[in-house]
Each structure stands twice: as C-alpha cells, then as structure tokens.
Amino acid sequence: MSDAAWLNVVLFLPVLGTALLLFVPATRESAIRTLTLVAMAAQLVVTGFLYAAFDPATPGLQFATRLPWIPAWGVTYTIGLDGYNVLLVLLTAFLGPLVVAGAFTAVRRDVKLFYCMVLLIQFAMMGAFVAQDLFLFYLFWEAMMIPMFVIIGIWGGERRIYATFKFVLYTAFGSILMLAAMIWLAWSLATPEGALSFAFTDLYQSRLPLSTQVLLLSAFGLSFAIKVPIVPLHTWLPDAHVEAPTAGSVILAGVLLKMGTYGFMKLGFPLFPDATMVLSPLLIALAVVSIVYGACLALVQDDIKKIIAYSSISHLGYVMLGLVCLDLVGVQGAVVQMVSHGLTAAGLFLMVGMIYERCHTRELAAYGGLAKVLPVYSLFFMLLTLASIGLPTTSGFTGEFMVLLGAGTAGWQQYSQGSSFLLASSAVAVTGVVLGAMYMLRFAQGFLFGGERVPHGPVLDLDLREKAILVAIVAAVFWLGLFPAEPLAKTELAAQEYRQLVTTSRLPGNAP
Amino acid sequence: MEALLQEFDTLLLYVFAGLSLAGAIAMLVLQHPMRVAMALVATMIWLGAIYGLVGVHFIAAFQILIYVSAVMVFIIYVIMLLDVRDMAYTRRYAGLLIPGAIAAVVFFGVLAATLWRTVEVPLTTTAAFGIGQFAVDFLQQYWLQFEVTSVLLVAAVVAAIAVVKAGGKDHG
C-alpha cells in the first residue's frame, strides 16, 4: 500500500467502524464500546505513523490522493497532509480514543447510536481537516453538524433542545453564507470555457477585485467566526457546552472549534489577502475583544462548564490574534495554541464529566475542598488548569507566549511605522493573561480548596481508565510545552506559506 | 401527387388538432366523470393520430397501448367502482372558476405570444423515426435513465401495496 493510501485509511477507519457497529446487536454494549475504541485507536496509530513520516522540509501536500469526483463541476476528491493540518489531524486522532473511553460509563442510553455518531463526527472532522478541495471541505464541514446535533439533542441536559437549535441555527446560517460564497468564488474563477475548480491550490491563484474579496471574506469569515466563535457570535457556545454530554463537549471544544480558526488560516485569509489587509484592524479588534470579553465572562460564571466554555472563547481569541498579526512567530503560536486549547479544554471537560458522574451537579458553589477528598483528581485538575492559564512548561504557555510575542513584535514593528493600533491591541491582549489566571484560579479555588463540600455523599477517586485518559492528555500538554521544536518544525513551511499568501496582494491588475 | 399528399397531411393535422382540443374542452364542461374519461380517451387517441402523422409511429402505438388501454381502463374501472354521486357530481366546479380561468388565459396567452414571436423554423418531418433507432439509442445512451425509472416503478408498486395495506389496517 502506498503512503498516500494510509491517509485514506485514517479518514475512513471511523466509517468502517460504524459499518461494523451496525452488525453488533444493540444490547451488547461492551462489545460496541470495545469496537469503537479499537477503531479510534487504530486511527490514532496510523495517524501517529503518518505524523512521524511527515517530512518538515517538503513544502505542499504529502500523502496526497487526487481523484476526479464530479468532473462536470471540477470537483475532485483531494486529500493530503500539510503543515496547516498535520497537528490538527494528530489532535483529532488523539482525542478520538479519549472521547470514546471517557464516555464508557457516562453514556447508558442508546449506546450503539451514540458510538455511531461519535465515529461519524470523527470522520467528518478528519475529513474537513484533510480535504484539499473546497467542495469536499464544505461537505465535511456540513456533515459535522449532524452528529453533533444528535449527540446534544439525545444525550444532552435539560435544555438540550434549545441548545441544539441555537447551535444548528448559528452554524447553518454560517454554512449557507459559505456555500453561497463558495459557489460565487468558483464561478468567478471559471475559465472562459466554463471549467470550474475547487482545489485549494487553484483558488490560491485567484485574482479578485477588492470589493468582491471583502464580500466573500465576510461570508466565509462569518461562517468561520461562528465556529470559532468570535465575540459577538459566541452565545451558542456556552449553551451547547452546558447541555452537551461530556463527549459532545470534548469534541466541540477539542476539535470542532478549531475548524473555525483552521478555516481562517487555510481558506479565509489566504484566499482573500487584500480584503484581509483591509479588514485586519477589525479582525484584530475582534480577536482582542474575544480574549478580554470571554475572560471577563468566565470570571462571573457559576456553572463549571460555562467557565470552560467562556475560557475557550478567550483562548481562541489568541489564535485569531496570532493569525491576523501575520508575524511568523505569532502564526506558529496560533497553531500551537489551537492544539493546546484542544488538549486542555478537552481534558477539563472530561474532568468535569468525571465529577458530574459522581456528584450530578455543575454548580461551582456546590463543591469545595476536593483536593482532600479526591487527591488524584485534583492533581490532574490543577495541571490542566495551569496549562489552561498558560503556565510555562505547559502547552498553553507555548501557544500564548508565541502568539503574544508575535503580536507584540508585529505591534512594535507597526508602531515604528506610525501605527500604534496593533501594539495597543497586543497590550490589551496581554491583560488576558492576568484575567485568565483570575478566572481559572477562582475556578480551581472554589473547586479544589476551602472546606470540604461534596454533594451527594462519598465519592471515589479516579479509576484506572480515567487516570489513563488524563495521563495521556497531560503528557501531550507537557510534550508541547517542553519540546515544541519538533511539531513547530512540521508546521513551519505552512506558516511561511500562509504569511506569503496573505501578505501578497492579488488584485486583478497586479502582475503575478 | 406528392404535394397533394403533403397538403392532405397538413389538413389532417389541423383536423386532429381541432378534435383533440375539442376533447380537452369537453373535459372541462362535462359533468359525469365517465363522460370526462371518454373525452380524455378521445383526446388521447387524436394525439396518437398526430404522433403517427409526424412520423413516430411507435410512440403513437404506445400512446394507444399504455395510455388508452392501461391507464384509462384503470380509471374507468374505478369510476364504475365508485360512482359516488355527491357534491362533486352535482356541482362540478369549485369556487375558483373565474380566477382560474383568468390565470389560465394569461398563462396560455403569454406562452402563445412568445411562441408566435420566436419560432420560425419549420418542422422537419423528413424521415420516419423507427423503433429500431429508438431502441438502439435507448439501450446505449439512456439505459441509466431507464434503470432509474424502473426503480421508480418498483417504488410505486411498493407504495401502492403499502397504501392499500395501511388503509386495510385502519378498517380492521
């Protein structure tokens, strides 16, 4: 089997898993769980090998498969790994088994359907990351929504219907805009003979007038911004998180939100460089507002899931800032921050799920002094909290520091050229570091410290399965915090290409 | 002689067209469904005649075989089976006669006017279109469409059975 085929294996393993699940009787729950876990683990193993084999010195796609699909519209089935997606693919594959294992005891109802949905969403997310054709990307992008809808809608909390509708309405609204923009884009780039192409590489050659670029970027951007989410398009996120089952929250925070920032990085900004330049003050402002606003809101939440949800908004604000500041360090930092947030938020949501299974409440005030009752749990919780606030040696630091360093240096650069906006913005963004410490420590404080308050009686500390899940996440967090050189090397070329694409004007008049 | 035949063809065409139009109009005004059915059968036959006249004889044959014989027989059978003499019988028109008529006239008028203005190419009835060529085209070029249609037919059969079964269940 050629190398490229293995990427297809990664992509379609969840589908295979789903197909096999259909043959398992719904009553044999442990077999269903094991099968799903095996499928996810196999995917992770293959992805791990692909990651190891990914050559940082080769620009462009690796392990690429290109097949014609709908020739009449120029749609192809093109997938491949590049610096943009390699870490995110690894993250997705990494979180897969953890999500499955995390739901072993939490999901008791319709187990078969649940794991089918988890596998399908894994497929869709993986597909969206590896797709190198806009049409394909859009299909996967849309396909993600359906399993998520089902997961929240069936296994969610009390207000799950409200939450699912809000989630779906927001994302569907964004998707419609993206669809329209996508068609417009493809048509406006059609050759005189009417041949269309949706391949990213072709789209990167586009030359569009500024007004069209702005319009299309707004459409794509709205869609991505809803997914990220950027303030003020974020209100679906806390509701969705609160109502979603643990697995849903983990997938949502761990991978789904990165879809938005990935979309900006892979499509939004590089496709419309001139519009990006025009809109960059707005984008910077929105990123900074997201950082501060999300942090402030996280500071006053009483529901522990909401705290993490709002902190996600804040953390993804850093990613946006890193992407729009267009400094190489910042861009690289944004990539790391995406992965880092995926790890820490997923870990925290898993931990919230674990405590929820034991105590059945998410009220922060109901807890206290867990450090004494559940020492192992508390240790992991503290580690993830610290990673979340970006303490050095954790992945959060690598991400935040590099983003802020990038934004700061770009800010000084612009300041020396007479514009103090970015410098001021990055200074404001730095306050996010302080606010982050405030809300996360308030959270840890009320949760772990103080007098013992554990609702619903005696609780057991983590079992082996839960420990294994958390050890994996914490190990990844420290790997990215202590030794980021190797993953950064793999994304380096893509980051440079991204910068190159976004900073090179592509108005129709310019010579190539 | 050739020209005379040509003229005769044209004349026949006008006649058949007029007859089928008359049949259609009769469908609007006749009260009893059976009469309507008869008018429809007549229209279909005249249309079949037109098909024959323009040279697609096998279509004409199908028209008679499938439409007149299969479909219409089925309908007539149902009419005979039901024969419900209710409001629908005594008052043949629903309340929308006037607006419907206006809309239909506008619809027809606009399309006819367009037709009048644009089409000037004469009909080319050069050679007869045989079933042989049809069959070749059909099975070489349009086999997929044919298969899809047969799937539709199967679905229709299943649906018909389902409808009947569901109805039966309701009444025990």
Binding site: - | S20, V36, I75, D86, F108, V121, A160
Partner: protein, 100 residues
C-alpha cells in the same frame, strides 16, 4: 402558421386546459384525468421538438413519461379509493382538513 407552431400551440392549449381543469373541477377523479391531460400535452411538445431537432432524446423522454404516468396512476388511484372509503365523497374540498 406552420406545423411546429400549430403542434406547440396545441400542446400549450391542452396543458392550460388541464391545469385549469385541476383548478376548477371538484371531482378528484376528474382532477386526476386533467393531470393526465397535462402529461399528454407535455408529451406532445416533446415529440414535436424531437421531430424538429431530429434527435431521439425527446422520444425517450416521452417513453419515460408514460412510465411515470402509469406509476402515478397506480399510486393515486388507491389513495383516492382509500379516501372515498372514509368520507364517501369525491369532493376535493372535503379533504381540506388533511392539511394538518
């Protein structure tokens, strides 16, 4: 007026009459028959244009329409039968409450 125009005009007229029939006639069976008329009108235009362009696609389509018409009747008639069994009327307006 040449043959093409005549036949297309006829198709149009039949179609309009069929449509009008569906709008104004009460009887469900008559409405069904008017729909058949509309299909016939469509067939006529297909045949006409197929002759004019001298291609076989029109004829094939006509053939498919036959099939569809048969399928349609095969489902529509049982439905009508069922309806009548319940309400003992063929008046379409009597079933207005089916809107739900």
């Amino acid at each position: 007026m040449d043959k093409l125009q005549l036949l297309l005009l006829l198709a149009l007229a039949l179609f309009a009459i069929g449509l009008l029939g569906v709008v104004i006639r009460r009887n469900l069976l008559v409405m069904l028959m008017c729909m058949e008329l509309m299909l016939n009108a469509a067939n006529l235009s297909l045949v006409t244009l197929a002759r004019q362009t001298d291609t076989s696609a029109g004829a094939v389509l006509v053939f498919l329409v036959f099939v569809v018409a048969a399928a349609e009747i095969a489902i529509a008639i049982p439905i009508v039968l069922l309806l009548v069994r319940r309400r003992h009327t063929l008046d379409a307006d009597a079933y207005a409450d089916l809107k739900g």
